[in-house]
């Protein structure tokens, strides 16, 4: 069962790493060009909040640029899609493919089945984030830019906590629904709305992406500390979503 769960997520995990990695390589390659053309960028950006994001990142040099490109932009967008992609089919996909009966008729408890799936999916989602984040160190050396390694990984931990919560929500919905596409539309629909709210000054406080906003990430760079209350809250949310998933999976007829 563990072997199958790992096999199920392995190629998705590889795809996520390649996508995130490709973005990081391009971003680092263009850092000096970005640095030299900040003013021009500011002028072509249509929204004031995005101009502020660029300013804030520029103030912190290469570390701020990495926060902007790798965490705020790439991890938040690709990561959201990846979190949904990893969680949506966990149970709903088995129902669609009609393999759920084969799975549930094995002499294994439902809690174990779900835990193996959850852990495999979470690792498949988060390992690429840490691997690609680690790759930023040698990549930065190719353009002769130093990286603050501690804050870099703290940002990865913070982003991972956020993605894990989003993944857990998708996973919980997958245990309650029978159509993985609907699960994906639901979570992605809400995520797109929430991300849009982030750039609306009057409504940005209502966006859950505020938890991984550039200001939060730059604070980590500046202080070298995690925003513990937020991260503990995200971990608790993941735990709560997983507990709901287990309860639903154990009580659901298939």
């Amino acid at each position: 069962m563990i072997e199958k769960a790992i096999r199920d997520v392995a190629w998705k995990s590889l795809a996520a790493a390649l996508l995130l990695g490709a973005h990081l390589v391009i971003a680092i390659a263009y850092f000096h060009e970005f640095e030299q053309n900040i003013e021009a960028f500011r002028q072509v950006v249509p929204f004031e909040p995005i101009r502020k994001v660029i300013d804030a990142a520029a103030k912190r040099g290469f570390d701020g640029y990495l926060s902007l490109q790798h965490f705020f932009k790439a991890t938040n967008t690709f990561g959201t899609f990846a979190a949904v992609f990893f969680g949506m089919g966990a149970v709903a996909g088995e129902v669609e493919r009609r393999t759920i009966e084969l799975l549930l008729s094995r002499p294994v408890s439902r809690t174990r089945i779900l835990t193996v799936k959850y852990v495999a999916g979470a690792l498949g989602l988060l390992i690429p984030l840490f691997v690609v984040t680690a790759a930023a160190i040698p990549l930065a050396s190719t353009i002769e830019e130093p990286v603050a390694v501690g804050p870099l990984f703290l940002q990865a931990v913070h982003s991972a906590a956020f993605l894990a919560a989003l993944y857990s929500l998708t996973f919980a919905l997958s245990t309650a629904m029978s159509d993985s596409a609907r699960v994906a539309y639901l979570v992605l629909g809400v995520s797109v709305i929430e991300f849009s709210l982030l750039v609306v000054r009057e409504a940005s406080h209502a966006s859950f992406y505020k938890l991984v906003d550039i200001s939060v990430l730059l604070d980590i760079v500046l202080t070298g500390r995690l925003p513990w209350p937020t991260d503990l809250g995200l971990v608790a949310a993941s735990g709560a979503f997983f507990a709901i998933a287990v309860w639903r999976f154990r009580t659901r007829d298939f």
Partner: protein
């Protein structure tokens, strides 16, 4: 080996199962028949803990499915009706996955089954035909070294020769002490291998008896077509247990010696009389009120 006691399951207003009780002894083949929607699959799913019954209880090898579903499943090989398999896997990988959760696999039996139901195990399942998928499903359901096999529509998609081999395999497994619960629309097969048969309709058990007894009861049925205008009450002669109108004729069940009753019925004003041992599909038709072919 399998005990079902007043099992009930509702989906809203619909009673999928309503007070179903029966037992299947060790080393027997128990057939479950009934029209679509009768509750057969729900019953089998209750026995492996995929569906939780609303009322009653069921046990496999003495283990209550509700209180210890994993323990119960350790004694059961199960073939689901729709037979969903992991399309991206090869047959061998899927088989390995399906069998890996069992404490023991009968390797000798598995080798025999692979000979009886040849499947290209190194090909991906997405390239399989319906029949190949069914054969792979049978391998994973029958190969675990367990005392019970629960098979939902196992012959669906099997060609006639595979079907014949399948019935031989069931007989061999029964002889080795395995209990087999079989849901099927293939009544000829049910009649050929089952020791006991239960008939389900609208979630209720309408009849449950040994195959021998069903044959014996079937032999007591006489179909009579009365002359026009004759009161069917004339059929209630001495030695007649019941008279039921069916398809423009009457089914008379003899309480005593059927040949003697048939002789006396023949003396009445009738257009025709049919007395022969019924096949299981004819018993099924009579039970469910389905018009039989002439």
């Amino acid at each position: 080996m399998i005990a079902v006691d007043r099992l009930g399951k509702r989906y809203g207003a619909l009673a999928a199962l309503d007070g179903v009780s029966f037992e299947a002894a060790r080393g027997t083949i128990f057939g479950l028949v009934g029209p679509n929607g009768a509750g057969k699959t729900t019953l089998l799913k209750c026995l492996v803990g995929i569906v939780a019954p609303g009322e009653g209880r069921c046990a496999v090898a003495g283990v209550d499915v509700a209180t210890d579903p994993v323990g119960a499943r350790r004694h059961v090989g199960y073939l689901p009706s729709e037979g969903g398999l992991y399309e991206a896997m090869t047959g061998r990988a899927c088989l390995r996955f399906a069998l890996s959760a069992y404490p023991a696999v009968d390797r000798e039996l598995l080798a025999d089954l692979e000979r009886d139901f040849p499947v290209p195990l190194d090909r991906r399942i997405r390239t399989y035909s319906h029949g190949m998928r069914r054969k792979l499903g049978l391998l994973q359901a029958l190969a675990p070294d367990v005392p019970v096999a629960i098979l939902d529509e196992p012959e669906d998609g099997l060609d006639p020769s595979a079907r014949r081999r399948f019935l031989d395999v069931l007989r061999r497994l029964r002889d080795r002490g395995r209990t087999i619960l079989l849901s099927s629309h293939q009544l000829e097969s049910v009649a050929a291998v089952c020791d006991r048969v239960a008939f389900l309709a609208a979630g209720k058990l309408v009849d449950c008896d040994s195959m021998d007894r069903i044959r014996e009861r079937a032999a007591r049925r006489i179909r009579v077509r009365l002359s026009p205008g004759v009161d069917p009450a004339v059929l209630r002669i001495d030695g007649v247990e019941s008279v039921t109108p069916r398809d423009g004729a009457y089914v008379v069940v003899a309480a005593g010696e059927p040949l003697d009753v048939a002789r006396r019925l023949a003396a009445l004003p009738i257009e025709g009389l049919e007395y022969r041992s019924l096949r299981l599909d004819e018993v099924y038709s009579d039970l469910y009120g389905i018009e039989r072919a002439a």
